[in-house]
């Protein structure tokens, strides 16, 4: 296998392990974080904080590199416009996140922890993406 497959495989594995160690594959913990008016569980803030600190360092390395290690160029989002779809989409995502305590990463990682329910979430998420795509084409 080439580094263009092994690198994302390693990154995905590291990501899945991090989510699981951090408790994010447990919807009760995620909903506990969102439950700030009830029995609040701050664990997710530590997960987010740890990840953001490491990535803040990585972003400072990027300008010193001519190109990525295993690819020709950097593909960094360059949009800065705050659109209704950004805010509306994020709000819909947040409602779904709150209902089941799952977002895309933990949903996929949990396929080996709670297979039937995680697979139902992943298929529903795919269906949602497909519905939006069909809707946007018309």
């Amino acid at each position: 296998m080439s580094s263009r497959i092994l690198t994302p495989l390693a990154a995905g594995t590291l990501f899945g392990a991090g989510l699981t160690i951090g408790g994010m594959t447990d919807p009760a913990r995620v909903r506990g974080f969102l439950d700030i008016f009830g029995d609040w569980d701050p664990t997710l803030a530590f997960v987010m904080g740890g990840a953001v600190i490491v990535m803040a360092i990585a972003w400072r390395i990027v300008p010193r590199m001519v190109e990525p290690i295993f690819a020709e160029k950097f593909h960094i989002p360059d949009r800065s416009d705050l659109t209704p779809s950004l805010i509306g989409g994020s709000a819909l995502f947040g409602v779904g996140w709150g209902i089941a305590g799952l977002c895309p990463g933990p949903g996929l990682a949990a396929l080996v922890i709670e297979p039937a329910l995680a697979a139902t979430f992943v298929v529903s998420m795919f269906a949602g993406m497909l519905i939006l795509r069909l809707f946007e084409r018309n």
Binding site: I36, G38, M48, V52, P68, R79, A91, L92, W97, G105
Partner: protein
């Protein structure tokens, strides 16, 4: 390690998990030149989204997620998880699918990669889905809706 007043919190495990997630995103950025946004990578792998890494690379990342979870589950002898039932999971999945595509990202792409870059779009998106999630849980609790089994 515990935090006074929050006996259920796992700050150290959370921090270690978060650092691993950050390292993963750093591998994607410095190695592949790409943002580790799970919703976008999943859309690419399944063919519902256009941009991002190659389709093979997207599948490799997607398959790595449960692989990493499996390794942790084996090493630690099992992982606790309390899930919602099928009904709420289907509604949530649909909303997450539609919302992440419409909003161009999720907790990883906006919350980790974008916020750490101080992207205005990602900071607004993250604040929006956090508030929406908090309000949703608060409303469900106020209505006495217990979704977790």
């Amino acid at each position: 390690m515990t935090i006074p007043g929050f006996p259920d919190a796992a700050p150290l495990a959370g921090l270690i998990g978060g650092i691993l997630i950050g390292l993963s995103a750093a591998v994607m950025l410095l190695g592949m030149g790409r943002i580790a946004g799970v919703s976008g990578i999943f859309a690419k792998a399944t063919g519902v989204g256009g941009s991002g890494i190659s389709r093979g690379g997207a599948w490799a990342f997607v398959l790595g997620l449960p692989l990493g979870a499996l390794i942790v589950a084996i090493v630690t002898g099992g992982v606790d998880a309390q899930f919602a039932g099928f009904g709420p999971i289907i509604v949530a999945g649909l909303l997450v699918g539609i919302g992440t595509r419409l909003g161009s990202g999720c907790t990883s792409g906006h919350g980790v990669c974008g916020v750490s870059r101080l992207s205005a779009r990602s900071i607004v998106a993250t604040a929006t889905f956090m508030v929406a999630g908090i309000v949703t849980v608060a409303v469900m609790n106020a209505m006495g809706m217990e979704v977790l089994k």
